[in-house]
Symmetry: C2
Subunit: 194 residues, 2 copies
């Protein structure tokens, strides 16, 4: 990275928690200027608009969340065990960028207006569900997951239960809901084992 | 209701979809003035602050969502069947105030600042979970639900799966995720039947 690219990356990383905590409307360029110590012109040299910076900040936040939670997963050969490990990681390892799950934030925040952010949140959820579906399909092929299991339904329920539980846990400020979701999801996953 | 109370109620009902769609920061008093056709002074005659109006708008939106989805539930004596009916209603009957689930919106929107709205969202989720827990406990007493079933875990998972699925459905703009959640929840509920 050259100096310009490094500055751009630093702005993204410093803006990410502000956008993730306050939302697109609630995060002003003034906030980003204060966090980075840069003038407005210094920021707009690297981004065409607030929209572009918000999109990059979201991509960084979601990338970090996936990265830390996937750590160690590929070492687990059995696909059903790998899915269970990913569920457990989601519960045990918080999203590293402050402000909660970037996908949920972007989904709600972008619902009215901001089609770029909405598109990115939609892509992120499609990506997550696809990864889970592939694991289910591979598990069936490898004889680890019962034939006839619906990959789409399993992915939808894993993502829904975890994200919904996260919402409850955010409100209650404790881990009970995500722990409960993990226990029930483990039961569901044990139910599709061969 | 006298004329003042009627105007107050009308402002709440007309502000509710704007707050629910755009969030607290994204809904300006200008928006409320346009929706109601009232001057700023005419609105502030009925509410001390934007915060108070937002709180009343949230209470109205969540009240409507609970009301339409609970319709017909009390006629079902069997508590497990009643829970299954409530799950089905949640999937089939959209929240009547535009902008999606008010609880999810308030939970995310109020996460940074706005403690009043946060408190109301927390109360709403506690209320929903308590109603479900009571049904599980009564079902156990009536011999319809298996002894040893954990009411808290069942409530957490029903609420989490439905809310999380709603988030996916909002992004995907189809009903697949909530339908999938309902099917899996029915399986879980059948699993605790006596």
């Amino acid at each position: 990275m050259n100096k310009g690219e490094m500055t751009r990356q630093r702005i993204i990383e410093e803006a990410a928690p502000i956008f993730n905590q306050r939302g697109f409307v609630g995060c002003s360029m003034q906030d980003v200027m204060e966090a980075t110590g840069l003038e407005k012109g210094g920021i707009y040299r690297h981004f065409e608009s607030k929209e572009e910076l918000a999109a990059e900040a979201f991509k960084f936040a979601i990338g970090e969340a996936f990265r830390v939670r996937r750590q160690g997963a590929d070492a687990i050969e059995n696909r059903l065990e790998r899915i269970k490990y990913l569920v457990r990681r989601f519960v045990d390892v918080p999203s590293p960028v402050p402000g909660g799950c970037p996908m949920m934030n972007a989904a709600i925040d972008s619902d009215d207006g901001n089609p770029v952010l909405r598109g990115l949140a939609k892509e992120a959820i499609a990506d997550w569900k696809k990864r889970l579906s592939v694991l289910v399909r591979e598990g069936i092929e490898r004889g680890e997951i019962r034939e006839g299991t619906d990959p789409r339904r399993i992915s939808n329920v894993v993502v829904a239960a975890l994200e919904g539980a996260l919402m409850i846990s955010r409100l209650e400020r404790n881990r009970t809901a995500v722990q409960d979701a993990a226990v029930v999801l483990e039961g569901i996953l044990d139910g599709i084992a061969v």
